[in-house]
């Protein structure tokens, strides 16, 4: 690891001031410290934000819950009431890394993490995402890569919480240019759709403050398939959230992870589900709509049937 300055901030304003031009916010550090050790991210200064108490709370509310960016994944996983209100979010949290990682990893860090593409993460490969010339995954080993992209890079978003929060239609509140800004989950990631060097839409200096989750979808679920039974990244993940009345689906939202640089949503699928009975055929039709236009590469076409099964299972789980 190369030398860097290390400072501690106790408020949002001082954190931003201390960051300077080429600093990084340090929370759980799971992603950032790994990148520094592997020499794929440069840092002049790390600003420890763990002491900013305002970002550590889970605040319930009748219409919406607020979860601070420094709340740990383990806290989300273990929160008894949250588990009842947003079961999909709790399930997504429980699948993150290992218990040790969840104990220190934060909501903000999970949402802002970088690509896990093995070309991007290799210290001696200068790929497109690291401002190199080509995406090696295109003609290389792309078993873990995306089925959709708006640019040449095919590394997918792998944040579990992003997928669950997309289905729940959460709002990310960030600190930008001295004020709070509100982004939909789609907006939080949209830059990665077009720009191969982006992992999300956050700009240098932006600080994730919290997410706000509307309570209008009392049913939610999250499922993923990995190669191993724990402590493994998802090959495909799926989250769904909705309101059920008399066995019919309302306000449904479905999102998929690990198949696109952004949480994968298809408006037509959500619209199709409106008012439909929660049945296998309906779920499968929604899966068709969600996967239309998928462009598999040499090694990742298996993600299509896997995603199809996950969409159906996740939707049907809303009824249980």
């Amino acid at each position: 690891m190369r030398p860097f300055e290390y400072v501690t901030a106790t408020s949002i304003e001082t954190a931003r001031q201390l960051l300077g031009a080429n600093g990084h916010y340090l929370a759980g550090g799971n992603d950032l410290l790994g990148r520094l050790k592997d020499d794929i991210t440069e840092a002049v200064r790390l600003v420890n934000i763990k002491g900013i108490g305002a970002l550590r709370h889970i605040e319930p509310g009748p219409d919406r819950w607020q979860i601070g960016a420094l709340v740990t994944i383990a806290e989300i996983e273990d929160h008894a009431e949250l588990r009842k209100i947003f079961p999909g979010l709790q399930q997504a949290a429980a699948e993150v890394g290992s218990q040790q990682i969840r104990n220190v990893a934060t909501l903000g860090g999970n949402l802002a993490q970088h690509s896990r593409c093995w070309y991007y993460r290799h210290r001696d490969i200068q790929c497109l995402k690291k401002r190199g010339r080509i995406c090696y995954a295109l003609e290389g080993d792309n078993r873990y890569h995306a089925l959709f992209t708006g640019n040449v890079c095919i590394s997918p978003v792998v944040s579990n919480l992003a997928i669950a929060l997309t289905a729940l239609d959460a709002t990310a509140v960030i600190w930008r240019d001295g004020q709070e800004r509100r982004l939909t989950m789609a907006e939080l990631y949209e830059l990665a759709w077009d720009n191969p060097t982006a992992h999300h839409s956050l700009r240098p200096g932006d600080l994730l403050l919290r997410v706000e989750i509307p309570t209008k979808r009392p049913r939610s679920a999250y499922l993923q398939v990995s190669e191993k039974h724990s402590f493994d990244w998802a090959l495909v993940s799926c989250a769904a959230a909705a309101r059920l009345e008399n066995g019919r689906i309302y306000d449904a939202r479905v999102a998929l992870g690990c198949i696109s640089p952004v949480p994968h949503q298809v408006a037509a699928a959500n619209q199709f589900l409106e008012g439909k009975p929660l049945e296998r055929d309906v779920a499968e039709k929604a899966a068709d709509l969600l996967l239309t236009g998928a462009e598999p590469h040499e090694h990742n076409a298996y993600k299509i049937p896997m995603a199809r099964a996950l969409i159906r299972r996740t939707l049907l789980q809303l009824g249980t």
Partner: protein, 697 residues
């Protein structure tokens, strides 16, 4: 010939690992725990090219970096490097960070050369050559017995298949390396190794030192699985850095480096055609195989036994057989022996074909095996296992399990030697206060060597295992064999029996106590006066033998919509002669099975053809089983005291992957002919994956 006691008091009882408390409390000192005054850290500069001509390496700038005390090149003058990660130079400094900074300023002048890292590319005639003087894939060696071509007509059933396995990395928890301290008196090296004697000789040879000037110490080590017999380039570099710096140097590899240059298990591409008579008798076997041992293919691999050839047709006897094998070189690190070299890979190919044949014959796969297995102990093991496992109730026709999550069962088996080394020596010192020290120049690779020695000594001397202090892992002790081939227990147990028997006789003679054992022990020892009694001895005939079987049954659940395989249960029926300590023996079985699960479902070194790099040089993407992946492991050890002690570290790893692969095929009704069996391959085998135009590679 010596004999084990027929009414043992300690042998065969469940004795907890004598060094367990030291390990779990952090008291046990591993090579990286050695603290010495002025200790420096060593780090290695590795080739960034998968193939290159190295013209010049300039260490001047590195030597001048703050905190750097030594810098050495692996080799003077121009050379060719043949894989990404090959060692070029090393530095020693006051911290990791100082070393990293120094490595960055080493100037390497190199001409990149064409390279090839995938087997299918390397075997093409126009592929870049890994070794200039020879093609990457030499013509196969052919062994033929009987008349293969004529025999097919005499078969009632013939099956054909193509089975592949991946290159696996050893990835011991403790990486390679050690701490070296070079002084005027000589070199002391604390190396993480399976062979203190071979490391001592290796270091002496490489550094042109007298063997008497080199002392190797390995009190504790965290696994090697076949990859840690020699000093390695890293061990030699640590010693050279220590000499140049005039200070001790600790050089342990990183997890990243573990993926590159310290061994692997060769891949295999096995084409099998197998025919049987109507009653199931195997009649003809036609086999072609190649795999890659990295740059070691076609060359001698370190430690031997790391080549790509497989022992086929494995445990079976087939009268008409043709076996063609070769290896293909690629620009990747050389293979090394890997827990039961060749056997698990051979077992996967052969046992897959056997199950296919059983289906074709309409026979129960277990019956087909019993019919064809020449080894009596194993035939018994099939029956014992089938009873305990409930094979008859669980086995159903392939693919007939209802619902999207299908269950299936499979069986496979092992053969192994596991005999002891007759050159093993040891000594025991009995102190006047009654304490006993057993000293053996062997090492414990995690199998419980200290405990085995303590159990045997306690048995002979009529004491409790905790009264015996076993000292191992030091070349100052009487030397024993390296820990490979499952030889350690059958080497150590007869040796300790011998030295303790001699010592007891001597003690009784010197003190006049007719039976010094048990309650008389302290009294007898006190009569020694001031001088302890030290007795040397050696391996004794009759207390060990070799040749084990071993059968494993697997039960799996396969989600046919996601492709995920869950191992629900593994049943192990294993013989190892006299079971010295059922606890450490079962621990070996657990480890072997878990490693087999890794081979079956998760482990694969992935090379990128474009850059020549290992794409998964970490535990994140080189996947190993974790606790959630480990099922119930039911263990039946056949205790055969009359056979003496036989090693079991390797045989218990052999059949697991094959049994799981057969269980998966039994569950879903189609075979995934390739390890590891990932969700991707399961969905592909089930025909669910849309076929895409092939890429431009």
């Amino acid at each position: 010939m010596a004999e084990w006691p027929t009414q043992p008091k300690v042998l065969g009882t469940r004795v907890p690992r004598v060094d367990g408390p030291a390990k779990v409390s952090g008291q046990a000192r591993y090579s990286s725990d050695i603290q010495l005054p002025g200790l420096l850290i060593g780090m290695i500069l590795r080739s960034r090219w998968p193939a290159a001509r190295i013209l010049r390496i300039n260490l001047d700038k590195a030597r001048k970096m703050p905190g750097i005390k030594a810098a050495v090149a692996v080799q003077e003058g121009p050379r060719i490097v043949r894989f990404y990660g090959e060692e070029l130079a090393a530095v020693a400094g006051v911290s990791r960070e100082a070393c990293e900074d120094a490595l960055r300023v080493i100037e390497v002048e190199a001409e990149p050369l064409p390279f090839v890292v995938r087997e299918e590319d390397a075997k093409k005639p126009d592929a870049p050559r890994v070794w200039e003087q020879a093609p990457n894939m030499p013509p196969p060696r052919v062994q033929e017995t009987g008349n293969v071509d004529a025999a097919w007509a005499e078969c009632a059933a013939i099956v054909e298949g193509f089975y592949t396995t991946s290159v696996q990395l050893h990835h011991p928890m403790e990486p390679h390396g050690g701490t070296a301290h070079w002084t005027e008196e000589g070199l002391t090296a604390w190396i993480s190794t399976q062979g203190i004697a071979s490391v001592r000789d290796g270091l002496a040879g490489a550094l042109r030192l007298e063997q008497s000037k080199v002392r190797v110490i390995t009190e504790y080590m965290g696994g090697g699985f076949g990859s840690k017999f020699g000093p390695g380039v890293e061990g030699i570099l640590a010693a050279r850095l220590s000499r140049e710096a005039g200070a001790p140097v600790r050089l342990m590899l990183s997890r990243f480096e573990e993926s590159l240059a310290v061994g692997n298990r060769p891949s295999s591409f096995q084409r099998i055609k197998l025919g049987a008579k109507a009653d199931g008798t195997l009649h003809v076997f036609d086999y072609e195989n190649y795999g890659t041992a990295g740059i070691g293919a076609g060359q001698a691999t370190e430690g031997g036994g790391g080549g790509a050839d497989l022992p086929m047709p494995y445990i079976y006897q087939v009268p008409n057989r043709r076996i063609k094998q070769t290896a293909v070189a690629v620009n990747a690190g050389s293979a090394r022996p890997f827990r039961a070299p060749g056997h698990p890979v051979a077992s996967f190919g052969m046992e897959s074909a056997m199950d296919e044949l059983a289906v074709k014959l309409g026979m129960d796969p277990l019956e087909l095996r019993i019919k064809n297995d020449p080894f009596e102990i194993r035939r018994r093991e099939y029956k014992i296992g089938a009873e305990r496992f409930g094979w008859k109730e669980k086995y159903r026709k392939p693919g007939t399990s209802p619902g999207p999550v299908k269950v299936g069962v499979g069986v496979a088996s092992a053969t192994w030697g596991g005999g002891g080394s007759r050159n093993t020596r040891g000594e025991v010192q009995i102190n006047p206060d009654g304490t006993v020290e057993v000293r053996l120049g062997v090492q414990d690779i995690g199998t419980g060597t200290r405990t085995v020695a303590a159990v045997v000594a306690a048995e002979v001397l009529g004491l409790k295992p905790e009264q015996i202090h076993v000292k191992i892992g030091d070349t100052l002790y009487p030397l024993g064999p390296g820990s490979g081939g499952s030889v350690t227990a059958p080497s150590v147990a007869p040796t300790v029996f011998d030295v303790c028997t001699r010592a007891l006789e001597e003690l009784q003679k010197q003190t006049g106590v007719s039976d010094a054992r048990g309650d008389n022990w302290k009294t007898a020892c006190k009569k020694l006066g001031v001088n302890p009694l030290t007795v040397q001895g050696r391996w004794r005939e009759g207390l060990s033998s070799s040749g084990v079987g071993g059968v494993q049954f697997a039960e799996v659940a396969v989600d046919t919509e996601t492709g995920l395989v869950t191992v629900k249960k593994i049943l192990v029926v294993q013989d190892c002669g006299l079971v010295v300590d059922p606890l450490t023996a079962e621990s070996q079985v657990n480890g072997g099975v878990i490693m087999g699960i890794g081979m079956a479902l998760y482990e694969e070194r992935v090379m990128d053809w474009q850059t020549g790099l290992v794409l998964n040089p970490n535990y994140e993407t080189y996947k190993l089983p974790s606790i959630a992946d480990v099922p119930e492991i039911d263990i039946i050890l056949l205790n055969m005291p009359e056979r003496g002690v036989i090693g079991l570290g390797e045989p218990v790893h052999i059949p697991t992957a094959a049994a799981i692969a057969n269980a998966v095929a039994n569950a879903i009704g189609v075979r995934v002919p390739s390890l590891p069996i990932t969700p991707r391959k399961v969905l592909t085998a089930l025909g669910q994956v849309p076929v895409r135009r092939s890429s431009a590679t």
